[in-house]
Amino acid sequence: MIAFWVVALLAIAGALVVVLHRNPVYSALGLVLTLFQVAVIFALLEAPLLALLQVIVYAGAIVVLFLFVIMLLALEPEKRLAAPFPVAVAGLVLAGLLGFALAAASTVPLAGAGQGALPAGFGSPESLAASLFGAHLLPFELTSVLLLVAVVGAVVLARRRS
């Protein structure tokens, strides 16, 4: 439990750095911190495989590419703009609503939660593969097609400009 609180607070701190820091490089590194802490939470929840995949895919590949682009574009530190009063109020209200919705949702127990022991082999590579390539095969394949479309689109856009 103590481990959870330490990890959760670090994750939130990282997320705040992402949003609030004026330097994009720090924001990306804050994102790494948050993603890493989420991976630790996965590990605490008896899902070591998911934790490792989280680190490999997000912290190890995606954010590295973010950093690569940020550094290549040599982005300036962002300027702080004073928002007009109505905009600020609207933003605060929306943020409050979102926070309320998240808090409300998190108090409702998940279906099947707290029902004794975990099923045998929970979080193992075999059970993850069985659910990915068995029960959820169609969404999984559709996601990969979606990613392929994005890649092809990016290539087409890059070619057209040159």
């Binding site: 495989l49 490792l52 190890g60 590419l65 950093l67 690569f68």
Partner: protein
């Protein structure tokens, strides 16, 4: 008691890797001198030079680290001080952690306890290696960016692109081996290699996956950023690349990370393709030679033989990397990218598919 054994294993793994970096530094300095027909490190000696020979080991074991840790630590005026400080540690910590999952022996039996000789016996340790390898790139990126120098920055950008590109070939090579042995656990893979093919040849990965061995070795060398893949450093173009603006102890941490990476590649090659700690025909009770000759050995002797075998193989593959580093010239950048994406990646994919077909079609092809 369990806690004590765990701590002891961590200390052993850590000491192995720390000492190995220093020994590799010596091998690199004297070995490169040998290759280039020079004398090499010969300034410091025991007993003030009264000995008739000087192997230079004092230089690298004591004088080099002492000298580096006493140099002034310079931070460039416009550098990002926090990230400049952070980068070396971000670079080296994941590499040290990788060594926690490398098995350096089978089991040690002490007074009724049976200890698995791997510092952190976690499931899916192969994925742990990949995760840590992918985190190590942050040291290069942050170091290059935070120095606020054009040379360092270029080195950092090059390092990012290179490490991302070669990680794919590395991953594909490892996945082929995982398919062959049907396990994501390095210790289980090492144990599986103790079996025999046709009752004679040890079932080492090199006989099942020769293509993956070549892929892993090349991609691993590219990940460790040493010649012929040392474009992030490229001392003839970029001064010293991503660690141009580092000095003293921080620079020595970067240097150390270099050697730890060499050791990790060697450890992966050893564990996945050359049986890890296996000694051919040596079981837990002693030797079982194919001819029917059995030699019983006490458990402790077997364990020591295995640890020695692991260290010997580790050292051989470190030496091969140093040999390559001092023999081949640096690649051109576009060649580097084309080689990674157009050669290694397709070969890795084909190798993976062929492996999968073999595993499915020929029951009993592998040793699981």
């Amino acid at each position: 008691m369990e806690v004590f054994f765990s701590l002891a294993k961590v200390v052993v793994a850590f000491v192995i890797i720390l000492q190995l970096t220093l020994i590799l530094l010596w091998v690199e300095r004297k070995g490169s001198a040998l290759i280039q027909d020079r004398v090499g490190a010969n300034r410091a000696n025991l007993f003030g030079g009264l000995l008739p020979f000087n192997l230079g080991i004092v230089n690298t074991w004591m004088a080099d680290p002492l000298k580096l840790f006493h140099k002034e630590d310079i931070v460039p005026a416009d550098a990002d001080r926090f990230l400049h400080w952070l980068a070396p540690f971000v670079g080296i910590v994941p590499l040290f952690l990788t060594f926690a999952v490398i098995p350096f022996g089978d089991v040690l039996k002490v007074g009724g306890f049976t200890i698995d000789l791997v510092a952190a016996p976690i499931p899916a340790s192969v994925l742990f290696v990949l995760a840590m390898a992918s985190l190590a790139v942050y040291g290069v990126v942050i170091g290059g960016w935070a120095s606020n120098s054009r040379w360092a920055f270029l080195g950092g950008v090059r390092g990012t692109a290179q490490m991302i590109s070669y990680e794919l070939a590395l991953g594909l090579a490892i996945v082929s081996v995982v398919l062959t042995y049907g396990s994501l656990d390095l210790q289980a893979i090492a144990r599986a290699q103790g079996a025999l093919m046709w009752g004679v040849v040890p079932a080492w990965g090199v006989f099942y996956q020769p293509v993956a061995l070549v892929l892993l070795f090349i991609a691993g060398m590219a990940e460790s950023k040493r010649a012929p893949f040392d474009l992030p450093e490229a001392e003839s173009e970029l001064v010293a690349g991503f660690f141009t603006e580092y000095s003293g102890s921080k620079q020595s941490v970067f240097m150390m990370a270099d050697f730890v990476e060499v050791a990790i590649v060697a450890a992966l090659v050893t564990t996945l393709f050359f049986g890890g700690w296996q000694v051919p025909w040596l079981g837990r009770e002693g030797f079982h030679f194919p001819g029917g000759l059995d030699i019983a050995l006490p458990s402790l002797v077997v364990t020591l033989l295995q640890i020695g075998s692991f260290l010997l193989k580790l050292f051989i593959f470190c030496w091969v990397q140093i040999l390559v580093r001092w023999s081949l010239p640096r690649m051109r950048y576009d060649h580097l990218m084309a080689f990674g994406w157009k050669r290694l990646l397709p070969i890795g994919l084909v190798n993976l598919v062929v492996t999968a077909v073999f595993v499915l079609a020929f029951e009993g092809w592998t040793v699981r």
